[in-house]
């Protein structure tokens, strides 16, 4: 019944594993969803081979936005930036393991949007990054 809020989401929301801010960092980006006040910042360190060696997120907002950020950050450590650029909406939804309507999708995708905007070095996080 509460499958929409799989235990992992509540768990990651309450006990995030990758919450924090890296200083120094190689990449950072932040953005928010003004509709509901969700806010996500990511900071990354990248090694000589162009792989994510360390990563953290910080922010506030609903369980979906925060848990998806935590799961996303976990999943990219060790990946190359090229691999991160290729990540899709579906990859993130697979991490979450739940289905989401259009409104909540925005919450879930905020972290991916922020991450990709940072990795691409864009000035602005556009919805098209996660379509």
């Amino acid at each position: 019944m509460e499958d929409l809020y799989r235990e992992i989401i509540i768990d990651r929301y309450k006990n995030p594993q990758y919450r924090g801010h890296l200083d120094p960092h190689d990449i950072s980006f932040e953005d928010d969803n003004p509709l509901c006040g969700d806010h996500i910042e990511v900071t990354l360190r990248v090694d000589a081979e162009g792989r994510v060696s360390e990563a953290r997120f910080d922010g506030k907002g609903c369980a979906i936005s925060q848990a998806s950020a935590d799961l996303l950050i976990e999943s990219i450590i060790g990946k190359s930036l090229e691999e991160v650029k290729k990540m899709t909406k579906q990859d993130l939804l697979d991490l979450l393991g739940i289905e989401l309507g259009p409104v909540r999708l925005k919450c879930a995708l905020l972290s991916l949007k922020v991450l990709k905007a940072g990795v691409y070095g864009l000035g602005e996080a556009s919805d098209e990054l996660v379509e």
Binding site: E2, Y5, Y13, P34, G37, C62, I64
Partner: protein, 408 residues
């Protein structure tokens, strides 16, 4: 309860629906849009099956029937708000378009740089953005009646803002977030004494309270059918006759003209002058049926029913630790309760409630400045109407306890 909700609910086919197998619908989102009774759906269906035709210019039977039905709906709506004359009822798409109509046609003709438009901090975006656009276009300036911590308008501040001689005061009759019922008649009296015109955003009041535009002495008043048992696609701008007469047209096209030559036109008489092109004919017919339904219940009874429900809801919500309800006590509000639950984002509250079939809204409810004022990005909102029951309030409360447990 004042209304026989058991009988009423049988008129609404959607309550037969289960949100998911075994999970009945608990619809607590009537402030966003209401459900529709059988009689409204039947009136529209019947229109399309029997009398569908374009109106006003047709000589054939169907066109005459359609015209008569459309204009009869206007009469019903006019009577419902106690307009002196049905020609003062302009059909628009929704309350938002109605306000824009006033802002474009009256505002651009009458306001100039330096003129003041007075709004309030509790306005819906639809009663903010059109005036921001008008101010940007004309150089008029905006000011705002503040909202107190209790969710009331600060009427002392209002009086002192009026000394700055605004040209227009535009305010909501009932807040869609706080539920606050503003003292519209008194506010209009003060505005008129200060030489201002008034526009009442009645999107939440006409559906929920007896509204008499003549007793209010409102210059303009806007509302939507879909929030009062009627269909989407139709709303109303009511206006005083002399004002509407003096305004230039807004949208140009078929039906709003008396004569057209290649290079000029003569506008039609009221109300047609402001209804360009084929209007929402079937929707007007449905709107008329909605007004009939509400009139049969009686708007005093509707308001009393909502007062009972909201009093009970406030009482029950306040017993939940961590719940903070915004807005005034039950006596000063309609059937809306917006709240936060400590430690849980409103989106999560709404989504978990949805798994129990409970439909509430989460967000800023198109009143972002009001939420900024209270220092929160979003609230969860439960809202009630003629078909709402105390059992549904209990289900909401039980749902909130379960949300707390999940996040506990």
């Amino acid at each position: 309860m004042t209304l026989d909700t058991l009988r009423i609910r049988q008129d609404f086919p959607i309550f037969e629906r289960q949100v998911r197998p075994g999970v009945p619908l608990v619809y607590l989102d009537s402030t966003a849009t209401t459900q529709k009774p059988q009689s409204v759906l039947r009136a529209m269906d019947e229109f399309y099956r029997r009398s569908n035709a374009n109106i006003h210019r047709g000589v054939h039977t169907l066109a005459e029937e359609a015209t008569a039905l459309y204009e009869a709906a206007r009469q019903k709506v006019a009577a419902f708000i106690h307009a002196a004359d049905a020609r003062q009822v302009i059909f628009t798409r929704n309350a938002s378009e109605a306000i824009n109509l006033a802002a474009y046609a009256w505002g651009r003709a009458h306001l100039k740089a330096g003129d003041l438009i007075l709004l309030t901090e509790m306005e819906h975006h639809s009663n903010l953005v059109p005036w921001q656009m008008l101010a940007a276009a004309t150089g008029a300036s905006l000011d705002f009646v503040p909202v107190t911590d209790d969710g009331l308008l600060d009427l002392d501040a209002y009086r002192s803002l009026l000394t700055r001689q605004p040209r227009l005061v535009a305010f909501t009759h009932m807040s869609n977030v706080l539920g606050t019922i503003n003292p519209a008649a008194e506010m209009i009296r003060l505005a008129h004494a200060a030489g201002a015109r008034t526009l009442v955003d009645a999107a939440q009041s006409v559906p929920h309270l007896p509204v008499d535009v003549q007793a209010l002495d409102a210059d303009f008043l806007a509302f939507s059918a879909h929030k009062m048992l009627g269909p989407t696609g139709i709303g109303v701008l009511y206006g005083k006759r002399d004002l509407l007469e003096s305004m230039p047209p807004f949208l140009g096209g078929g039906d709003m003209i008396k004569t057209v030559h290649l290079r000029d036109f003569v506008p039609n008489e009221l109300p047609h002058k402001f209804e360009a092109g084929t209007p929402a004919i079937a929707e007007a017919v449905g709107f008329g049926a909605a007004v009939d339904y509400l009139s049969a219940l009686g708007m005093d009874a509707v308001a009393a029913h909502e007062r009972e429900i909201i009093a009970y809801a406030l009482e029950r919500l306040e017993e939940i630790r961590g719940v903070r309800v915004f807005g005034p006590p039950a006596e000063q509000r309609g059937g809306v309760a917006s709240f936060t639950l400590e430690g849980v984002h409103p989106h999560d509250v709404a989504q978990i409630l949805d798994t129990f079939g409970i439909a509430v809204r989460a967000g800023h409810h198109c009143a972002q400045p009001l939420h900024e004022k209270f220092g929160i990005p979003a609230t969860t909102r439960a809202s009630f109407y003629v078909y709402s029951t105390k059992e549904e309030v209990d289900q909401l409360v039980e749902g909130l306890y379960r949300v707390k447990k999940i996040f506990g």
